[in-house]
Subunit: 81 residues, 2 copies
């Protein structure tokens, strides 16, 4: 089973890296880009013996405790069989 | 419209950062994690006047030319209305 975890800065937190990319794209004349936010993406491969609910709670725990800084970041994830 | 772009190292490229996270999780006694791959995640906000096919080709161009190093990385994306 694979878990895809997406970590982004909260909307209220300035994303300097994303803004830099957006500015660069505008300077390079790419059309119609209003904003860019950059985040992190993790793919966790999980032991196939784990049930879906076990995997879900383990991934949530790992995200909350290790991958995400809850002060400035938020996350979402989905499981793939 | 928003485009979600996921950039990962190709399978054949060593992902040292992902391996470090996997090793740390094992040391911290998280159960059943076999492997971790780390990638980048971008959310592009696109001018709502663009059609879906225009947005799609623009995002593909930006990914290929700016966000992705095609020698070592691959990407996928999806659009969200």
């Amino acid at each position: 089973m694979k878990a895809h975890v997406y970590v982004t800065l909260k909307r209220t937190v300035l994303d300097a890296q994303g803004q830099t990319i957006a500015d660069a794209l505008r300077r390079m004349r790419y059309q119609g880009i209003e904003d860019v936010r950059q985040g992190k993406y993790f793919v966790l491969s999980i032991d196939s013996q784990a049930s879906e609910s076990e995997a879900r709670s383990e991934v949530e725990r790992i995200a909350r405790e290790v991958l995400v800084n809850p002060v400035i970041e938020e996350y979402s994830f989905h499981l793939e069989a």
